[in-house]
Every structure is written in C-alpha cells, then in structure tokens.
C-alpha cells in the first residue's frame, strides 16, 4: 500500500494485539471497511511458530539465548519470565526500540512488535473487574471516577468470554464476578486439601482454579475458526498450533478476515494521527514504513488506537497541532499521566506435607487464584485497595538438584524421582493512579523511524509499598493456614512495568477537564478517535487486565459503529 492510495477506510485500527484484534473483529462484523496497521512483521498462525513443540535437545542451546545477544539486544526483555530462545522472536530488540527512564526509577517496558502483539505471549489469566473496582476511585478520592459501572460492561464481558473461550469455575464472589465459562481445569488433590484448610481458617480467602483463556470445550464457532481444545503442554508463549489459547492470530483476526472487510498492513509504524482543525476530527494516520522509512498517510473516517498503553500514548503525544500543542486530545493535560502497573515481586512458597504417592499427568495450563480479600468487607487500615495471589502446586523436579549437595549415582537416582509437593504463589497488587507517574516525549532523541522516544517516570509510592509488605505477610499467613511447612517469602520489589500490566495514560472519565476519554473510550476532544487499550484504564484494580481491554474494545466498537451509521461522528 503506497501513499498515493486514496482509499478512505471506514476505520483505521492501530495495533493488532489484544485490543486491536477485537476492534478489527467487531468493526468489520458491523460492516465497516477496516485498515489494520501493525508496526511489526507479519506472523502467520501456526506457520510462524518455529519453536512450537520443540524439545530442548532440538534447540541450539537447550532453549538458552546466547549471553552476548541478551546483553546487546534484550537487556530489558530478558527480565520477562517467558523470555527464552523459544520466544525471543516475540520480544522487541531493546537496542532498536529505545526509551528513557529517570535515574533511580527503572521501568521495564516489555513489548512484542509483530502481528498479534502480546496476545501471543500473554499469561491468559482472565478476570472481570467488579464495582469494588469501578467505584474505587470515587470511594477513596484517588484518580477520577470511572464513567462506567459493572452493569455497563457486564454484557460485554459475556460477549468477549463467549467468543474467546475462558475456562473457569463459578464462585459467586462479589469482588470477582462469574462469567461465561468453559469447564474449569481441575484442582489437584493436594490443592483441594489446601483449599479446605485455608477456607476453614479464613473463610474470606478462597483458593479457586484460575480463569484462563484456554478452550476446554470448544464451541462450534471456535471450531469453525480452526481452534481446538487445550493439550496441556504449557508451552503457550511459543505460539500454539492448536489455537487452544486466545490470541489475535487464533481468534479475532481470522474472524475479522472472514468478513471480507479487513485490510491488514504490517511493517507500518504509526508516527502520528492527522488532525483537521476545521472539522475537529482525525482524518488519517501518518505511517513510516518500518524498512524503507518512507512516509505515507492512510485515511479513515474513524481511528481506533490499540497500539498498547504506552505506544498509543506516544502516538497521541506526537500528534501535535496548533489546537493541541501538547498532544492530540490532550485538552485535560492528563495524556501520559497516571501510569500504573501492578505491584509485584512477592513470591511465597512452602512444602505440602504428605501426598508422596500421588502425581499428575499433563502440564495444566493455568494456576490457582486467591481473589482479593483485603478491603472487601472490612476496611484495612494499612493501605487502600487490594491484591490477589496466583500460583499452584507441583512436585519438585530435577531442578532442586542445583540447590542441594550431592553427586554420583545416589544423587542422580534421587533427582529422577519427584521430590516433595510444593506450592508457590505470587502477589499482584493494585497501584493507585497518580498524575506524577507519567510519560513524555524526549525532545532530542528520535528512534530509527524519526519518532521522538518516550521518557517514562514511574514510581511505587507509599500505598504500593504498604501493599507490597501486606502481600508478603499475608502470603506467609495464607500458606501456613493452608497447612504448608517451611514457608518462605521472597520479597524483591518488581520495577514498574515488569508485571506487564502497564495502563492508565489516557484515562476514561466523566469530565473532559480531567480525563482523555469518555465512557465509550471516545476522546472527549476528538469525536472520531477511540483509544481502547490499557491507556483507557481509570484505575488498575488488581486483576489481570486483558479481559477488560477486550470488553472495553468490543463495547467501544459497537458504539462507534452506531455513531458512524447515525452520522454522529
């Protein structure tokens, strides 16, 4: 596609990951002609999963990335738990994709620039927010009020869960609403015994199976898209030939493609949006070819920014005009502010006594979840908001040999057998919106595409540190109550970004003076511009946010299509 292409698309979707895939699907299914722009390379489902199913002895270095290559190209990405020689092609090269942080405030910006984005490498945990979350800001005064409540988004959670395929159990927890679930993965009997003890000791601390975007009983719609049931390999981040976990490539983009209304262009780096002051609308998207660096403009009647929280924010900040000298749709001054992630770095582990005669088969594709129990019914004086834990039971394996004395025949034979049952879980804490946590464009440094690089300044503050401490003490208490021995808590605060739930820099709100987007993710200042990735989040809750991005995107796309048809935008 070249610059002399005069096609005016009904909609341009920027980004093909979790949110962009949904925008493309929902808009094309409503009859809109959509141009989907992806800055990275094309990835063909199944074909471009080169490490899918490969055992380590078929990898050049057993799955390890050469150390000099890690130091040169992946100094940030390497800290993601899923980064390895199996997955490195789904992570950005840090050298080619620079950003800056303020000294003393590291931020780990974990990214994947390719068709499908991070929907290929996500951890697939899928939880609804509740009114405990949507009312949180108005209750304690941090940030601004969400312009929606649970009842606004609930039907859209239903919609995206039904299509994506979320396995889970119904639990009737007000702080974690049930959804449209496929059958849950099973708990191990070790976990069932822990659950019984824990829930007897602390009735408000529930140990439930994780809600995960894996097919356990595919619907006809999912089967028709070529998706199949999960095989419990737990090698998901390499890409799954079965399409068993939800990604743009396995689900939303095939659905969008079959409408005949989707045009996908990869290697198209969006520099900025084109704004027309006369009509007060965006008229198109300024693109740089990733390889030739040639610039061109694509035209569309509306624009969905789904490039990921920080990339969408960067594009808006770089879209400057006389009317918007500080970034497009930034009349509030809130664009780039209120950056949040989740509080992480607490891992509690312990030994489960007994059960030596039991084992398992298969690598279950989800862990367990301990939903938030603090500040639900009773007010905790130590901190605002809450946290959850994610983890599971496992028998120690050969890896325990690297931490224990022993060599020779007896040592080898010991490592061939499973060790004691263990349980480990990690905390995910809510982060408050704070305007001081923000990003801006560096005025001097540009990347290879001529785009000013992002400066990120984000800091965990008092409430986050109080949550961090509480996750450590509650983690210990929780595992001990579940009957574990030798409970150990490793507390190494994760730099913001490393939980890979960055969000909030173009927040939704009622008031155009204090927020960027309205209740339909529509820019207050520009009626045909929608931002539906994590940037829209008004608060962070403590649940994994992807399901909410999906639901917000589908909801916004339906609203935008209606507005377009009715001639309101």
């Amino acid at each position: 596609m070249t610059s002399d292409d005069n096609t005016v698309f009904d909609a341009i979707v920027v980004g093909s990951g979790m949110s962009g895939g949904w925008a493309a699907k929902e808009l094309t299914e409503r009859g809109l002609k959509v141009l989907l722009l992806e800055r990275g390379r094309n990835v063909t489902h199944r074909v471009d999963y080169p490490t899918d199913g490969k055992p380590p002895w078929e990898m050049p270095y057993g799955g390890q990335v050469p150390e000099a290559e890690v130091a040169r190209d992946y100094p940030v990405q390497k800290d993601c738990y899923a980064f390895s020689d199996y997955t490195k092609h789904f992570f950005v090269n840090d050298r080619e994709n620079p950003y800056e942080t303020t000294t003393g405030n590291p931020f780990a910006w974990i990214r994947g620039y390719h068709l499908g984005g991070r929907s290929l490498t996500w951890h697939r945990q899928s939880y609804r927010l509740s009114d405990l979350d949507f009312e949180a800001n108005s209750r304690d005064g941090h940030g601004v009020d969400w312009p929606i409540r649970y009842s606004d988004i609930a039907p859209w959670y239903d919609h995206v869960e039904t299509f994506a395929g979320i396995s889970g159990s119904r639990e009737n927890l007000p702080q974690l609403p049930d959804g449209k679930f496929q059958p849950p993965f099973q708990l191990h009997c070790v976990e069932r015994a822990m659950k019984k003890k824990l829930e007897a000791a602390f009735p408000d601390r529930r140990l439930i199976i994780g809600r995960t975007a894996h097919l356990t009983a595919p619907t006809a719609e999912q089967t028709a898209l070529g998706r199949a049931r999960c095989m419990n390999r737990l090698e998901c981040q390499r890409g799954c030939r079965f399409g068993a976990y939800f990604s743009s490539l396995s689900a939303t983009l095939p659905a969008a493609n079959r409408t005949g209304n989707l045009t996908t262009v990869t290697d198209a780096v969006v520099d900025s949006l084109v704004y027309d002051a006369g009509s007060e609308r965006v008229t198109g998207v300024q693109v740089v070819d990733a390889h030739t660096l040639e610039r061109r403009t694509h035209r569309g009647r509306l624009v969905f920014l789904c490039a990921s929280t920080l990339a969408s924010t960067q594009i808006l900040l770089n879209s400057r005009s006389e009317q918007f000298p500080n970034g497009l749709a930034n009349g509030s001054g809130m664009l780039g502010r209120n950056l949040m992630d989740h509080v992480g770095g607490v891992r509690a582990t312990g030994t489960v006594p007994g059960f030596e005669d039991t084992y398992e088969k298969g690598r279950r594709a989800t862990d367990l979840y301990v939903p938030r129990f603090r500040n639900v019914d009773e007010r905790d004086e130590r901190f605002l908001r809450g946290f959850g834990f994610q983890g599971g039971a496992y028998r120690d394996d050969w890896r325990r040999g690297t931490g224990t004395a022993g060599i020779g025949e007896a040592f080898k034979e010991q490592l061939q057998k499973p060790g004691p049952w263990r349980f480990g879980m990690s905390g995910f804490g809510e982060m408050l919106p704070d305007a001081r946590n923000r990003v801006w464009l560096d005025s001097k440094r540009k990347d290879r595409w001529g785009i000013p690089i992002l400066h990120i300044e984000c800091k965990l503050r008092d409430n986050e540190m109080a949550i961090f401490d509480a996750m450590a003490s509650d983690g210990k208490e929780t595992l001990e109550a579940a009957g574990l021995t030798d409970v150990n808590v490793a507390s190494n605060i994760a730099p913001p970004g490393l939980m890979i739930h960055e969000m909030g820099t173009a927040r939704m709100g009622h008031d155009p003076g204090t927020s960027v987007l309205n209740k339909f993710n529509q820019a207050h200042d520009v009626s045909n511009l929608f931002v539906t990735d994590g940037a829209a989040m008004t608060s962070s809750a403590c649940q994994n946010p992807s399901l909410t991005y999906m639901a917000l995107t589908a909801r916004a796309a339906a609203a935008a299509a209606d507005m377009l048809k009715e001639g309101r935008i």
Binding site: P56, A68, C189, A405, G408, K412
Partner: protein, 200 residues
Amino acid sequence: MKQEQKPGLTRRDALKGAVALLGGTITAAQLGLLRQSIAAVADDAAPRYLDSKQLETVTRIVDIVIPETDTPGAVSAGVPKFIDLLLSEWASTERQKAFIAGLGAIDDRAQQAGADSFIDSDFRDQVELLRSLDREAFADGAPDTFFRGFKKLILFAYFSSKPGATQALRFDPFPGNYEPCLPLGDDDRAWFWLGYSYDL
C-alpha cells in the same frame, strides 16, 4: 579463542576410569553401558572451545556427577560436547574466562594433593575432590563457587538432553488431558519440564 589441540581421551583411559567407578568388576550389561559412554567420549569431532585435556577433565567430572546407571549418564548423553558448544557459542566472555579459571582451580586442588592435574590423579581421588568441592559449595552460608554453577550447568545439560529427559526422566510432549491425583505407580520417574525459562 580456540586453544591448542592435545590428544583426546583414549579408549583405555576412559575404560580405566569407568572400571574404577564400578569398583573394579563389571558385568556384561555394565560393559554395554560403558561402550556407549566411551563412544560418546571418543567422538572424533574436535572440541570447539576447550582443549582436549580440558574436555577430558570436563568429561570425567560430568561422569562422576551423573554416572551411567540403568539409565544413560552425562557422558553418553553428550553433556561434555554440549558444554563445549555452550562455551563456544552461548557463553559470554566473562563466563568463558571463569570456566577456564574454574577448571584450572580444580587442577590446582589436585596438585596440592600431589597429582600432576585432576585428570592425572587417581579416580578415587577425583571423586573425593569433587565431593569436597560439592560440600564446600552447599555448606551453610557458602559464597557462590565455581563448582555450584558448574553443577547447575551439568544438571541442565543432562536433564534437557534427550536421554536425560526421556530415559532418566519421563517426557510427555502432548499430554492431551490434565489428570490430577494419579497414583505415582510403578514408573516413579519425575516428568521433565524445563520451565518457562531457565537461568543458568
């Protein structure tokens, strides 16, 4: 930084060490294992990073840490050559240097005990020296030692090899279902899994 070539480990040297490991007597079945072991060592391809004496030393060490039993040991699983490959193509310059220095320090320990080098010392002394290094590495409050990292490398290389994962352990590429709470049963080998990523 390819180093000077030296003659490789001979069949007789390997046999001498292996027989000593087995306590001087060998059965026909053990001899079969021994042959595999020797075949792997005597693989003609020249080492990529280590010199032949260093490869010999690594081979002996991994054989003592993970010996042949009723399942393949580290030598017949190809661990020495894999470690050589990792040093050549995967390891950072710092790690390469530390590895060579670490092997040198093991030779120094053997010399303090009166031998010319580790590989030239009596097999029983080799085992005893490695046991000492292992005890020191895992003593309470011990600083990080070369041997600790070396052992981690050996275990990774062995258990992620095909013989390690599929014979010493069990490997299930396509489990299909997740079946919790199964009895451990007669085959009580652990499942192999590498984890999401493995930090060496």
